[in-house]
């Protein structure tokens, strides 16, 4: 087979190729043409657009992002998603296992998913209480069922819940704890505290870190020295004893909300140092650039230079740092509450839900009490995948 064509034939085949690909493009107008347009558009795209396009290629990260949005929506609309208030008790159903959802009833007929009523009966042989289902009556599950009335965000009265039985029959999707409180509802309400502590806390330490790191890196000299010593000092104090000391200092009389904010403050006061160091390093490497000199000559204020000119140079690192810091904060709050130093019952957070799980014999008999662990791990894994995708997207060296 010839590897080179004689000139005339090459020309002819060139135009054939051009004609043919033009025809093909017209036929596959959809994807091919769109991809062509996209590629041309990307040649002039901004930094963020490029990051977005690369991010979308990382399917796992995109899925994680949407799942996280779903989690936060659940947290925001907790009243609606959870069938019950976290404090509602079912005195007849202490330590109940999750309500079984059936599709076939006793007579082997098919219905839409439903549940049976449960009562506790004393088992004559072992003298323990067992929960027996009463198969005579069917309580179908409904979406958007009428349930307990609540005030959405304390403002809007409503009584529609995402799932319910439209009757008084308790629906314990994840079982109940020792006071008969529905674990699923408590997990949903607990997500409010746990997820938002992560967000708010990270934003506070984010702001502090950028401000102090930026000042330290930009001005240098004495200011830099002082702030660096401060950072080293804070890092030297072992974290958990510091947390313990600070949270043990929270007065017991404070309400749940006040404790919530106190914990955020505690976690952020320690957390800003990592970011500050990174910001300082980046600013030191960027501050000799020409555009900074130009900004200075144009009499831009120092703060403006830091935030408007230097900062966008390493936005990618900042984004990645946030997605790594948030699960750290969530775990910090979980640890504190688990040790009894943070949110305590009756207020709910995932960590406080696990307090009961400290006794392994209890979990041995009632394993559904471990379900908050799944929620925590889910949130952390999602953030990790998201962070991984963002890191790949922000890295200018990967294709």
């Amino acid at each position: 087979m010839e590897t080179t064509l004689p000139p005339k034939a090459a020309e002819a085949s060139d135009s054939y190729v051009n004609r043919r690909s033009g025809e093909l493009l017209k036929r596959y107008r959809g994807t091919r043409a769109r991809r062509q347009e996209m590629a041309e558009h990307l040649l002039e795209a901004s930094q963020y657009e490029l990051m977005l396009v690369k991010f979308r290629k990382h399917k796992l990260a995109v899925v994680s992002f949407y799942l996280l949005v779903a989690l936060y929506l659940i947290a925001i609309f907790a009243n609606f998603v959870a069938p019950y208030d976290p404090l509602t008790r079912f005195d007849k159903l202490l330590f109940a296992s999750p309500t079984q959802i059936h599709i076939r009833d006793a007579a082997a007929n098919f219905h839409l998913p439903f549940v049976y009523a449960r009562t506790s009966k004393l088992d004559e042989k072992t003298f323990t209480y067992k929960f027996v289902e009463d198969t005579t009556q069917i309580f179908p599950l409904r979406l958007f069922a009428k349930g307990e009335p609540y005030m959405l965000w304390g403002l809007i009265p409503a009584d529609v819940h995402l799932i319910g039985t439209d009757s008084q029959q308790p629906l314990l999707l994840m079982g109940s704890d020792q006071l008969g409180r529905d674990l699923f509802s408590r997990i949903v309400f607990g997500s409010r505290v746990s997820l938002f502590i992560g967000l708010v806390g990270v934003f506070i330490s984010f702001f502090l870190g950028i401000l102090l790191g930026g000042i330290s890196g930009y001005f240098g000299g004495v200011v830099d020295l002082l702030i660096q010593r401060l950072i080293e000092f804070i890092i030297s104090i072992p974290q958990i004893p510091l947390w313990m000391g600070l949270s043990a200092a929270i007065p017991r009389e404070w309400t749940g909300i006040q404790k919530f904010f106190a914990i955020i403050v505690i976690l952020s006061l320690v957390g800003w140092t990592g970011l500050a160091r990174v910001v300082r390093g980046k600013i030191i490497s960027l501050r000799e650039e020409d555009y900074v000199t130009a900004a200075k000559i144009s009499s831009a204020s120092d703060l403006a230079i830091i935030f408007r000119h230097l900062l966008p140079g390493f936005t990618s690192y900042l984004i990645v740092h946030i997605t790594i810091a948030i699960p750290g904060m969530i775990l910090g709050e979980t640890t504190l509450s688990f040790l009894g130093l943070g949110i305590n019952p009756p207020d709910v957070s995932w960590g406080s839900l696990l307090q009961q799980a400290q006794d392994v014999t209890v979990i041995g008999y009632y394993p559904w009490l471990l379900l908050p662990v799944a929620a925590i791990i889910l949130a952390v894994i999602l953030y990790n995948f998201l962070g991984d995708g963002l890191r790949d997207a922000a890295d200018p060296y990967t294709r």
Binding site: A249, F338, V373
Partner: protein
């Protein structure tokens, strides 16, 4: 190099002083004081304390002096006599209590660290060398899991699984029979039986982290020119990798060795609490919550000092490995 070290050491002393103040303050922060919680505990048991006894208690523990004076007494005793005071709760010198628990903690931590490195380094290196192979994906997935699961939750789930499968409560380091027995071969065998759970839990997270770091930094190194040059010059493949890129890729890990110091002595606190290990962690937790001032304070002080020394060691190691840092 020596100037760098000198500068670092010079800052050490004031930092240590500051940190000791903070340690003291952190212990004092929980309001109420030891005497109050002691009295409360007594009252719960049915006893009662009248005002005069309470004052006597306060004077006995030296809590009536102003905070500043308390601090100076505490620090001078430590520096001059090595006397960390007595634990209120146990009524024994803090030093004795620490001597009991610290060696055990250190043994456990050091074993888990060695285990972690032995497992993680080869896996990380292999993962980088065979990038995108099945094993690479497998270990990347495992390390993701390992990084996402907090150790104490992992411990909880493991405990549950062991309990359900065997009915055996795998807490503590020894079975009740061997708890206070003198050391013997049988006791050692018992220890081996029980110690795998804490070791597993403590190693998993660090292994995951090290695998990822090792893989990332080795991948960075393998892209560089000198590797190609070495290959082109005919070095056997194993030497190409072992002699150069690995030495550089290990840098990030070596520079974190300093941080191991406080971790080794402190041990993983929450995991120890969950698994009920007789290490330093649970004791410190109870001391802080119960305001056992001298015990908690002494321990926090030791940890802070070790952290600072560890940071110093890290910095020195980093400066030794990477000459650019010495110019900072």
């Amino acid at each position: 190099m020596s100037r760098f070290i000198l500068r670092r050491v010079a800052i050490l002393i004031p930092l240590l002083v500051l940190v000791s103040v903070v340690a003291f303050v952190v212990i004092q922060l929980p309001g109420g004081g030891f005497v109050d919680s002691y009295i409360r505990a007594l009252q719960l048991q049915g006893g009662s304390v009248n005002e005069a006894q309470k004052q006597a208690l306060i004077r006995q523990y030296g809590l009536d002096k102003p905070v500043l004076v308390q601090y100076f007494i505490w620090i001078s005793k430590i520096i001059l006599h090595g006397d960390f005071g007595n634990s209120f709760k146990f009524q024994r010198p803090v030093v004795d209590l620490l001597k009991e628990r610290v060696p055990r903690t250190m043994a456990l931590s050091i074993t888990s660290i060695i285990l972690t490195w032995i497992i993680a380094l080869p896996i990380g290196i292999l993962s980088a060398l065979k990038k995108y192979s099945f094993w690479d994906y497998f270990f990347t997935f495992l390390s993701f899991l390992g990084l996402s699961i907090p150790p104490f939750l992992f411990a909880l789930v493991l405990l549950y699984i062991v309990f359900v499968k065997t009915g055996y409560l795998a807490t503590g380091l020894f079975s009740p029979a061997y708890e206070n027995a003198p050391w013997s071969l049988a006791k050692f065998a018992d220890l081996m039986q029980n110690v795998w759970l804490p070791l597993l839990v403590l190693s998993v997270t660090s292994t995951a982290g090290i695998i990822r770091i090792m893989r990332a930094s080795l991948l960075d190194e393998l892209k560089k020119q000198y590797v190609t040059t070495a290959r082109a010059k005919g070095l056997p493949e194993w030497r190409v990798i072992l002699q150069y890129p690995i030495r550089i890729a290990i840098n990030p890990l070596i520079s974190t060795i300093g941080w191991l110091l406080p971790a080794v002595v402190g041990g993983e606190l929450v995991v120890s609490k969950v698994l009920n290990l007789p290490t330093v962690g649970p004791m410190m937790l109870d001391a802080t919550l119960g305001q056992d001032m001298y015990l908690a304070g002494g321990f926090v002080l030791i940890l802070c000092t070790l952290t600072i020394v560890g940071t110093l060691i890290s910095d020195i190691l980093l400066a030794w490995a990477d000459p650019r840092i010495r110019l900072e």
